[in-house]
Symmetry: C2
């Protein structure tokens, strides 16, 4: 890989006023584009997890900002020398931890152009392109996911923020004048309640905390042996709360939980919510992208009757972080919860001003990168890639099932496999699996993460990289078996 140290980039100093000359911009820009091309081509030569110790980068940087501008060529050399070693390579095809994500070239170009425009889409007039392209691309995505036209898409930064907005809008739908009078100092306000499964993402609880509802407001419904919310237990909890004078107002179901990619039975949850007039929000941050693949549609049954649904193209649609889409049926409630227009932002136009739909006033021009990605790959190109990831996950699951030394710990719904080593010769399986994971991660060859399922330490292997191939899954399968063999060997040597 070409490093800047070797590249001998001509000296580039900041001018006394204004910005870098167009000529220098071109030269440096081309260098960086080439650097990224090299980086992408050679990404498998890097350790997946950065091998640096904590504080390594901090200790290697000056304690204070430079008094005078530095040669930009030197800054780029420091990217090689100081930044690169401290990067965990999310784009490495053997990054299988958390959720495997990756960017595409088209997505990077979208981000680049959007940075150059640097629009803040608060008002339509400050950014017609961003406002309208957001409407168009999210509607494309809605159709691709087979969601009905009642859903309007709004782009936020992360699923945490999308879910926060959904619950805030649900709260606004209550006839309790919380916008005007708030929740403190009110003797008339009963305990409000939100329901989610014990497998749901921490963002649900974080949102409930931020909204001032508190942990007491969040009821975690038990899941079945497939880690899916039990709709009957949900109904029972709601009914008990109502009898006790609480006010249930929102249910957050998950299609594709973070631990296991399990799927709550949305079609069974919908009638419970309808019966009790609760807002149903579906967290499909990870798995939503799979809704574009026809054979996965059955897993989204019921979503057509939810009130809102979040999906993150930055997770599994090859779009740079951050881009989360909230589909919502009640944008009027979002607006009621968030609109506040000071004089300096008043305009006469009868248009959509995106600042009215969220906590953030300005919004980046995020739709551009999504537009680039969808056009470059087309629906069929995106479907094929996601389908292939799911095929690879099934393949790995098949190898695991065939083996006596390994077992699946959860069903494989999408492209996440939860499994663990279970050789009969070793007793402490939790310690064994943790050891195997840590050794693979420390090797730099691959990155896996873990979870606990039924109190069992469980390995998670997520497949979602745009460049992942069968050989990468074979590689990690071999690593797993080698590390298991070596652990077993050490154990028998110790006996």
């Amino acid at each position: 890989m070409k490093h800047y140290e070797e590249a001998k980039l001509k000296e580039i100093l900041a001018p006394a006023s204004g910005d870098m000359s167009a000529e220098d911009f071109r030269r440096v820009g081309h260098e960086i584009i080439d650097w990224i091309a090299d980086y992408s081509e050679n990404i498998e030569r890097f350790p997946v997890l950065s091998p640096v110790e904590p504080d390594w980068l901090k200790d290697n940087l000056p304690k204070s900002a430079p008094e005078n501008g530095e040669d930009f060529a030197r800054v780029l050399r420091d990217v090689d020398k100081l930044i690169l070693p401290a990067v965990t390579h999310w784009n490495h095809p053997n990054f299988h931890g958390l959720f495997s994500t990756s960017v595409s070239a088209a997505g990077i170009f979208g981000e680049l152009l959007s940075a150059a425009f640097d629009m803040k889409a608060m008002l339509w007039r400050t950014s017609p392109a961003s406002t309208e392209l957001e409407e168009v691309t999210t509607d494309w995505l809605r159709q691709m996911m087979n969601l009905d036209a009642g859903y309007k898409g709004i782009i936020y930064d992360t699923a945490s923020v999308s879910t926060l907005h959904a619950i805030a809008a649900a709260r606004e739908g209550l006839d309790l004048k919380i916008r005007e009078f708030g929740m403190s100092g009110r003797r008339d306000l009963p305990l409000l309640r939100v329901y989610t499964s014990e497998q749901s993402h921490s963002s649900v609880e974080k949102a409930v905390l931020l909204l001032g509802l508190g942990q007491k407001s969040l009821v975690k419904i038990p899941t079945n042996e497939r880690f899916e919310m039990d709709a009957e237990k949900l109904r029972a909890a709601i009914e008990a709360d109502k009898r006790n004078g609480c006010v249930p107002f929102c249910v957050v179901a998950t299609v594709g939980t973070t631990s296991t990619a399990s799927v709550d039975p949305v079609a069974e949850i919908v009638p419970v919510c309808e019966e009790h007039a609760l807002w149903l929000h579906v967290d499909a941050a990870y798995a939503g992208s799979a809704a574009i693949v026809p054979e996965f549609q059955p897993l989204f049954k019921g979503c057509e009757r939810a009130d809102s649904l979040v999906t993150n193209p930055h997770k599994w649609l090859f779009t740079p972080f951050d881009l989360s889409v909230l589909f919502c049926r009640h944008t009027d409630l979002l607006k009621r919860a968030f609109a506040l227009v000071p004089e300096y932002l008043k305009t006469d136009e009868a248009v959509t001003n995106q600042m009215d739909y969220g906590i953030q006033l300005g919004r980046r021009f995020r739709a551009l990168k999504l537009w680039f990605v969808i056009r470059y790959f087309g629906q069929s190109g995106l479907i094929e890639r996601i389908r292939e990831h799911c095929r690879l996950a099934k393949l790995l699951a098949h190898w695991i099932e065939k083996s006596d030394d390994w077992e699946l710990v959860a069903p494989v719904n999408f492209a996440l496999v939860c499994f663990r080593a279970c050789p009969k010769t070793i007793e402490n399986l939790d310690a064994l699996n943790e050891k195997i994971m840590n050794e693979i991660n420390a090797s730099g060859e691959a990155y896996l993460s873990h979870t606990k399922l039924n109190d069992k330490y469980t390995l998670r292997l997520s497949i979602g990289n745009i460049r992942v191939e069968e050989r990468h899954i074979e590689k990690v399968w071999n690593l797993l078996n080698e590390n298991l063999a070596s652990a077993a060997e050490k154990r028998s040597a110790a006996l």
Copy 2:
């Protein structure tokens, strides 16, 4: 300006699997870099405000996503044909509306590389570079702003979100178990109160709404004739509330308000907050950058004793949107308000995991662009540019003061001028000024915005573009006078 239509870029189609080839990435990347260079060089040839009518872009785009991938060269041609006309050019030196912001080449490059890495800084281990560079660059900025070492910097997306986090941490500091029990269904919880001036940004009220405190919790303190919060009235309001059994817990002061860039007397507000043990948050989203200029330091007096302060390098430090820095003395409280660690994110390392400090779990690698900008310009380069913007604002203010036809409506503290036409021959000055502004904005030559001060329709002219020169301010001054003359002429013709 070179358009893609003329450029005849070779056909670039998505491969059957994987991503764009490195060769194509280089070719397209270089094209886009050249396009941005051309765009920046020719930006003054574009109308500042996009001239398109609402729905123009939407009407010109297909209603659904393409079934098959498209030639990426065609996508780029559509950037010229469809996106560019719908862009409001925030980087145009005559963008004087709202706050004038702009990106630098170094900032764009930072965003580009960060998109290529696509790290999600939730855990230190998933992004050591982002976690540590954030700590280092925000500490550089802290020193540049002459804030003491008690402040720790955290990067969020926008000032709205930074302020939201500050108030959430302040609430967490109350001994009222709101995290555990929330605010609903509690007969023991008195009315909580937050104080800010009637000139403060709408984000303060939005944060209060989202937090579930409601409008009733927010007390807007009157301002003096310079639009500054009256510290004595603040004290009186707090004391009256306490007598009435309310619980005051937070004051948001502003250094550089949005309407007029007025400066609340932080040094007078500090003792009030200390006396009553309230959290003092300073909103310096806009003006914070000016704290790096020694002669502006007096305007920040007292900030060294606040609990938190927000400044936005994406506003006035040539960094692409979004990058907001919250300086906070009590990160323990932020952590107490937000930390929630599910099993799949548990790690053993004794490190900072940034997900613990906010609502968002993942964070973009934003520090990179700030690091690029500070190193390329150096402290002195940044100081000179901001100083020059303030000089140009004073110059315009001087022209206004010398003229019989115009008047200043607020003091000029930084690089924002609030003024209006006040010819003796015309009675309805509000209508006159609105007409002058609308005609200039419609001409595409410049973009001004407005506010209302003491019920007077007031023009706002903000100067903050990295390429702005004296000639741009002369140009807008001429436009103002020409439009005033033409309005006066039409009026006398009508008589």
